[in-house]
Each structure stands twice: as structure tokens, then as C-alpha cells.
Amino acid sequence: MRSYGLLACVALASIAGAQQPVAKTAGPTLIKNATVLTVTKGTLQNTDILLQNGKIAQIGKNLTAPAGAQVIDATGKYVMPGIIDPHSHTMADAINEGSLSVTSMVRMRDVLNPTDINIYRQLAGGVTTINLLHGSANTIGGQNAVLKLKYGREADEMLFPGAMPGIKFALGENVTQKNSQQSAQAQGRQLRYPATRMGQEEILRDAFTRARDYKATLDEYKAKAAKGDKTAIAPARNLELEPLVEVLEGKRFVHAHSYRADEMLMLLNVAKEFGFTVKTLQHGLEGYKIASEIQQAGTGLSSFADEWSYKIEAYDAIPYNVPILLSHGVVATVNSDSDERARRLNIDAAKMVRYGGLSDDEALKTITYNGAVQLGVQDRVGSIEIGKDADVVIWSGHPLSVYSSAETTFIDGEIFFDKQKDLAMRDQMAKERAALEAADRGRRAIVP
């Protein structure tokens, strides 16, 4: 009953928070007397945290508030790092460019919707960073965007500075369009190549071969130009192959949607052949079958907490996937892939404790620190340590409890969600709605 009430609370909050620009909180904040879940350095009781200049400035007992600091008494409350969702489709005006098998030229950052209400809802679930990925329609999808959920700000301000660029790959059923083949054939539509996993391997090999050739052409031009050859004209930039060259050069992470062990091994082998590392396997529900191989490849994995057998590729999924991977030394995370689950990722982490026997810290890592590693931002976020970004969340109770909820969410030391403020805003929003409706009533409706 209680958790039910909290959900209703969040749903209402989402209306209230709509499009309210958040004022920059200039000053420092001192969070007093909390139970601090640092995630990397254990749990600290009755501890204060000072957030200053966007960073975690001090952690300790009986800290003194600097002049002008806002002081929050967190007695009885928990503070944990902001949750990182390694697989999100929130705040995008488009998710798939599914027309071609290789769409490495498309970029999620071109289609960001900073007004998406799901940003606010996820802040209310303690999420502060997301890995916004292209969909899984094609073998090589688009470029990702790593974002901090600074709701109320412009899209550019939400891009995580310094995060490694990434790209989405996808294997298996979604790419072969197995599920829509029959309807496509019935309508006389041509199926897009590839329709099998064999074809996916060929697409990858072909794309990276072209990327190598492109790189060679660029290098050839550079060599000519260096020799002072005036007839040399720079080759036109190829937006499709540029990001793949970056993958070859280790400057761009590959996040690969995959379910089955065989397709994951295929990708790891192709990557080895071309000399790059797959940063993460996304979903990877059969990862436990090849945990050692994944670990040896230096690859991470981001899985669902459950969703066992929800489709054919998922039939061999088990609840212990993430714990087994962790025990083999794989950097493993739990992701949402869903606007709904994204605001309850703490509960998905708790399932790892319940079903996989993880410790609280290990479970919390799957939604915080490990995600930071997978996105190349572990020096910035993912744990509560001095010098890291002040992306922290105050919870009403232990975040692995269904009875707890996020009360205040900080990003770079600024508050982007506050439950009390949210409650207070509702009156204001109701008044605005009444005024707008009154103004609107004067006008006729569309005659259909």
C-alpha cells in the first residue's frame, strides 16, 4: 500500500515538474548526518557530505557548513551516488534509423528532447546519468549520447563532457526482422539484408573492411599533402565510416545488443580480427554461458534484472546472469531499456541481492560504478568519493528497499528533483491550468 502511494506521487510529480526550468543553485550544500553508501568504499554512518562547485568536496563527521551553504538534515536517511542507466531510450525524438543495415552516421545527439517528462520521472527514481542508445533495428546502428539528466536545461548542457563516444551494434532477431518477415512478405515488401545471423557477421566484416580502406585513403592523402603535393584534394568526409575508424582506433566504444552466446562470441571474434574491443554487450542474457570468454575479451555486459524467456532469444535467460558474470570478473550492470523500469532501477538492483546472492554494495555497483566504467566516466561519477561530480541522491531509506524513495537528486551539486518542492509546485500548476483553460475556452474548437 505504501509503495503504491509513492508511485502515485511520482506520477503526479511528473505533471507538476513539466517544463519548469530549474534555477541554478549557486551555493554549496552540506548534507548532514546521513548513512552514506559510497559504493566503492563501504557504508559510512552518521556522516556529512559537502557539495561545492559541482563536486563532492568533503566527506566526514561534523563538517562545518561554509558561508551561504544550504544545510540538509539527512538524519535517518541514506545517500547514494546517482544511478547510471547503461541502456536508455529516454529523451529521444527518434530511436531507430532502420532503413539500412549500417547507419553509423546517425547520432542520438541530433534528436535529443530535453523536455521529455521521463527525464523528471527518472530523477525521481534517483537516476542522474544515462547512456542513450540507438535502437536495435540494424547491425550497425547510430552513435550514442551519454547524458546527465539536467531537466529544464538545453540538450547541449545535458551532454556528459568527457564521456567516451559510443555506437550501438545489434545482433539477432531484431536485426533479422524475424518477427516481421511474414508480414513483409505478405505485403510484397522486400526484406532488408541480412535476414540471418550469418549475414550480420558479413555486414560487420564488410563495414570494417570499408572503414580500413577509408582510413588508408585518408592516410594516403595526408602523406601526399605532407610531401607538398598541391594536386592532392582531401577526400570527402564519409560520415558512415568515420565512427567505424574511431572504433578501430579505440576512440569509440561499441555497445552491442545481443542475446545468445553464439552471436556474442561471433562479435568478439570479429572484433578481435579487426583489433578492437567490444566495450559492452547489451542484454547478453546468455552471457553466463561464456563468462570467461567475455572477461578475456575485456568486455563488459549490461543485462536485464529479469525478463526471463520474454522472447525466443531470451529462453535461456536465468536470474543469476549478472552475479555469475561478476564472479568471473566481468564488469556487469543492470539496465532499464525502458522509461518505466528506469525509475525503479534500485529495485532491479535489489533483485540481484534476492536472486543472485550479491552483497548490497555489489548490487548497488551494478547500477552505479560499473555503469560509469562502461561509459568511461568512472573518474567522474558512480561512487561517493572526494573530487567526484556531486551527483548524489538522498533516499528516505535504504535504496534497496521497496519502501524507500528518492527525496532529493543532485547533479553537479544542483538540485534537479526535490520531493517537497514537487509537492509544493502542484498548486501552482493547477492554477496555471485553470488560467489557461479559461483563456482557451473563449475560442471555438476545431470543426472536424
Binding site: N96, E173, N174, T231, L436, I446
Partner: protein, 572 residues
């Protein structure tokens, strides 16, 4: 029977003989070989825009040009005199972003297609099904052909022009096409001896919409639209460099391949002509400005519903806005519909306030029809901007000289000054609240006729829909707002609640849009493709990883509308 057939034959014969006269008449100007070409409107109130209003004066028009204007100006002896008592004369009103004059409008055939045999040919598009025009010999797909030009496609007929004329419009910036690169526009007068005579200036701007390709090929999403735009502009830069290098020293260099599409972008990259980008929401405007900045383009924003939120940037980057007068309208909601999201409500109430906000922020603007469903709303909607804080003078300026300045034709249009083109909008009474009495276009009088039929918008309104997916039947409410070929709106119900995106509607009622939907297994992107026929919408739903679904729905409040008819979208 027999008589009837004879009659018809006689009519056809007459039509053949009279064809040239009809062709002229079709362009809305009753010009004959010996028609008078000197007119004087006397005793009228004259709003010159460039100078102070003249409370009682005379405008003399001779051979298409304003010959004299003033309180003391005299009607020449050879002038046909129009008593202007009770009339107000304005410079001809300019619709600053329109598709007026382009084929899809009106029911007329394609007789005046200017020898453009290749247009639409071989694409299976009949005359009724006006496809996006294709440039001849282009190696780029339809929708990515910046060389398509209004001047080649003008096909104005009387019926097509009566609508805008009835709204007092003498001149429009006419856009040739739809899609992503929408082609080179022209400023056209809405009357003339033939379609070419209408052209005041060409090319005026390259136009960029952000509408994904409807055929399913690349790019079929907003993601691909941006990368296609970016790659085409990069290719155009490279093409220009190659051509320049070859022109300078052709010997020993492989001849670069000519490409009319990339050629057409050279003046755009050289900032000789601006790019008009369709962008309404704040984020759409930001994206457009970012793209323009990336390629150092001169940009004009068209639509601009949320331009006030970007006003500071528009001002500092000196970007004008062609404000859409197609304000969002309240759908007739069914009784059990969810309450409207606050942002939708806000957008509707705030829309008429935009012009005043831009004025206050120092952002230049003009008005455009924005795909209005009825021309009767054009001036009244400017009137609503005036009710919402814009002064009448500011509004008039934006409709005339302000628009001419933005479009680079203020040397010939936009004000009542001696020597300028004699485009005049004559009102009985005031521009806001009065009635359009007469127009002069290129110095020739145009009588106002009621538009043949005010087209209604097929998609507008609340649709009750059942989406059938592998997860079962999902009842949803679809609220659609149509603006020209663009569709906006929301989807609410068993698939969650979201704004639709990438929405478009074709000339035969084919619709497509994407929406983020909440499924059992996660958040997915659903691509809806279908048709609207009367008050029925149906089609298929594609979601990655799921079998294809279907949707079927109706507009419950359409029944009493009495419009009936086919689901043909507005002719505009």
C-alpha cells in the same frame, strides 16, 4: 442523348478556341490586350508603411508600377479612377512561406507544368497523386534534391489563387517541394499573364524541412534526416572545392562528375542565398540553428511556434522568423479523453502572443500561412497577434515591408512608394476587422472571389484507435494537428503517453509518424504507416523486435461535421 453529345462537342470546340483567354483568366488577372493600365485610387486612406499614413490621398498606378502617391497626388487624365472613400490601401500583403502556385493545389490539371515532363514521370504518380517532384537526371533520392525549383513547377490556376487573394495576399514565397531539401523558392505575385510572369525573384532561398522519407528508404527517421543533410552539405563543400580546382587547372586532373544537386547548394554554402528551415519547437529551432552554424549558412526559421524561447539566440545570430499563422486549435475531445497535457494547452493559448514577444526581443519576423486549413483565418490570426500585444503598425509592417526585407525584395515590394511594383491590398475598413475589397497585382486589378472551397484538414482532431500488437489490443487516443504536410500531436492510452514525431501526411491521405510506446518488455519506438479516408484511419505499426501490428480508428466527433467526402487532405 444525341443532343447532349453534340452540345458537349460544341463546348469542347469552343473551349479549344477560347483556350488562350482561359489560360490568362486562370491566373486571376483580368488582363486583356487593350485593358487599361493606368489606375488612380482617390480619397483613400493610404498606409505606405515606408512613411507616415496618408489620411486622405491618391495612389496612381501606371504600367505595373506605383507612379505617384500622396495627399496631393493627382489622378492623371488617362487613369481609370476608383473612388477610395471608405477604403484603406496597403502595400500588397506577403505570405512569407507558402506552397501557393505549386501543383498540388486545386483540382486543375497539369497543363501548365512548363514542359517539366520528367516531373513525377515514371514514379507511378498520377495527376491526382501529386508526388514530391523529382528533379530530372538527379542521382539523389526524391526529398534530397535541392535543385528542385519553384520557377520550374509553378502551376497556378484561378481556383488556386482565389483563396490567398481573398485573404488580401498579393505575393508569396512559394516553396517547390516537400521532404528534406525542399528546393529553391521564388517570390511570386499571385497573378500574371502566365506562370513565369508571376515570378518576382528566383531563387530566393533553399528550403529545408526535416521530414523523413515516406517511402521507407534512407533516411526514414529524424536521425537519418540529420546525417543525410550533413553528408549532402559535406559532399557539396567537397564538390565545390573539386570543381574550383578543376576550373583552375583541368589538365592532368580527373574530370569531377557534375552533380546538379550539389551544384544547387553552392550559392547556399557561399551565403549568397539563405536557407529557410522548418522548425517549430524550441529544440527543433536549436537543432536548425546548430546545423546552420556548423556549415556557416544564412538561416531563416519557418514556423517558429516556440521561437520566443530561443529569442535571445535568434536576436544575437540575426535570424528572422517566418511565423506560422496556423495556430494550434482545440480538438473536440471525447468525453472520456485524458486531460490535455499542460504543454499542449500552453502552446495553444500562447501561440498568438509569439509575434509580440519576438518584436519585444528585437527578432525580425514575417507572417506565413503555415499550412492554414482555411484562408479565412489568415488575417484574423494576425489580428489575434495584435490583440495579444503587437501593435497594428508592427503587424502591417511584418505583413509587407518586413517580409520583403527578410526575403530580399524590399527594393521592389513591401511599401507604397513611387517606382515600386504596384501590388496593393485594398480594404474596406481596416486590415483587421475590415473586408478585402480589391487587390492590385503588378498594377492590374484583381476582384476578390470567395475561395472555391475552403479545404478542411483531414487529420486534425481526436482519433479513437485500437492498436493490435502481439501483446494484444491497445486502445489509444490520437490527437493530431496538421500543418501542411506536417503532423504533430500526442498519443495517449494503453501504450503510454507521448508526443508523436516525424509525422507527415501526403496528398492522398497517406500518413506516417513515430511514437515512443510503453510495451511489456520496455520502451520501444513504434512507426505508424497508414491512410486517412474520411473519418477512418488505418494502417500498420512496425516495432523493432515485434511482429507487425495494425491500427484502426475513427474520429468520433466527425460524424456531425457533415463534411463527408473522401479523406483527401487539404489541397495545401
Amino acid at each position: 442523348m444525341r443532343i447532349g453529345r453534340t452540345m458537349r462537342a460544341a463546348t469542347l470546340a469552343y473551349a479549344a478556341l477560347a483556350a488562350p483567354a482561359i489560360a490568362r483568366g486562370q491566373l486571376g488577372v483580368q488582363r486583356q490586350r487593350n485593358a487599361p493600365s493606368v489606375y488612380a485610387i482617390t480619397n483613400a486612406r493610404i498606409i505606405t508603411v515606408s512613411g507616415a499614413p496618408i489620411e486622405r490621398g491618391t495612389v496612381v498606378v501606371r504600367d505595373g508600377v506605383i507612379a505617384a502617391v500622396g495627399a496631393a497626388a493627382q489622378a492623371p487624365a488617362d487613369a481609370r479612377i476608383i473612388d477610395g472613400t471608405g477604403l484603406t490601401v496597403y502595400p500588397g500583403i506577403i505570405d512569407a512561406n507558402s506552397t501557393v502556385g505549386i501543383g498540388a493545389i486545386g483540382a486543375a490539371g497539369d497543363a501548365g507544368r512548363g514542359g517539366r515532363g520528367g516531373a513525377g514521370g515514371g514514379r507511378g504518380a498520377g495527376p491526382q497523386q501529386q508526388a514530391t517532384p523529382s528533379a530530372p537526371n538527379s542521382i539523389h533520392p526524391v526529398g534530397l534534391q535541392p535543385e528542385v525549383a519553384t520557377v520550374d513547377l509553378l502551376n497556378a490556376d484561378a481556383d488556386a489563387l482565389t483563396g490567398p487573394q481573398s485573404a488580401g495576399i498579393t505575393t508569396a514565397l512559394s516553396i517547390p517541394s516537400s521532404g528534406i531539401f525542399r528546393g529553391l523558392s521564388a517570390v511570386v505575385n499571385l497573378g500574371g499573364m502566365n506562370s513565369q510572369a508571376m515570378v518576382v525573384k528566383t531563387p530566393v532561398a533553399e528550403h529545408i524541412g526535416f521530414t523523413p522519407s515516406r517511402g521507407g528508404g534512407y533516411p526514414n527517421s529524424l536521425l537519418g534526416v540529420f546525417s543525410a543533410l550533413r553528408q549532402t552539405l559535406i559532399d557539396a563543400q567537397h564538390y565545390g572545392a573539386e570543381q574550383a580546382a578543376y576550373a583552375k587547372n583541368p589538365r592532368g586532373m580527373r574530370r569531377p562528375e557534375p552533380d546538379p544537386s550539389l551544384e544547387a547548394l553552392q550559392p547556399v554554402l557561399a551565403r549568397q542565398i539563405p536557407v529557410v528551415m522548418e522548425a517549430g519547437l524550441e529544440r527543433e529551432i536549436e537543432r536548425a540553428l546548430d546545423l546552420a552554424k556548423e556549415f556557416n549558412l544564412r538561416v531563416i526559421i519557418a514556423g517558429g511556434e516556440e521561437a520566443d524561447k530561443v529569442a535571445a539566440r535568434l536576436k544575437s545570430e540575426n535570424v528572422p522568423v517566418l511565423i506560422s499563422l496556423n495556430y494550434p486549435r482545440r480538438p473536440q475531445a471525447s468525453a472520456d479523453a485524458d486531460p490535455e497535457p499542460l504543454r499542449v494547452l500552453r502552446a495553444r493559448v500562447e501561440a498568438p502572443k509569439l509575434a509580440a514577444k519576438l518584436q519585444a526581443a528585437g527578432v525580425r519576423f514575417a507572417f506565413a500561412d503555415g499550412g492554414l486549413t482555411t484562408w479565412n483565418d489568415f488575417l484574423p490570426n494576425v489580428g489575434r497577434a495584435v490583440e495579444s500585444g503587437l501593435t497594428a503598425d508592427q503587424a502591417v509592417r511584418a505583413l509587407t515591408l518586413g517580409a520583403a526585407e527578410i526575403l530580399g525584395v524590399n527594393d521592389r515590394l513591401g511599401s507604397i512608394e513611387q517606382g515600386k511594383v504596384a501590388n496593393l491590398t485594398v480594404m474596406r475598413g481596416d486590415l483587421f476587422g475590415g473586408r478585402v475589397s480589391q487587390l492590385f497585382i503588378d498594377g492590374m486589378p484583381v476582384e476578390i472571389r470567395a475561395p472555391a472551397n475552403a479545404a478542411a484538414s483531414a487529420a486534425n482532431g481526436a482519433w479513437t484507435i485500437t492498436v493490435t500488437l502481439d501483446e494484444g489490443e491497445k486502445p489509444v487516443t490520437l490527437n493530431l494537428q496538421q500543418a501542411g504536410e506536417q503532423l504533430r500531436g500526442t498519443i495517449q492510452g494503453a501504450l503510454g503517453s507521448s508526443q508523436i514525431s516525424n509525422g507527415s501526411i501526403g496528398p492522398t491521405g497517406d500518413v506516417q509518424f513515430t511514437a515512443t510506446v510503453t510495451m511489456n518488455a520496455g520502451t520501444e519506438e513504434a512507426r505508424f504507416t497508414g491512410t486517412i479516408n474520411g473519418n477512418v484511419i488505418r494502417g500498420t505499426v512496425a516495432i523493432v523486435g515485434h511482429p507487425q501490428g495494425t491500427f484502426l480508428g475513427t474520429k468520433p466527433d466527425a460524424a456531425q461535421g457533415g463534411r463527408g467526402g473522401r479523406g483527401r487532405p487539404p489541397a495545401r
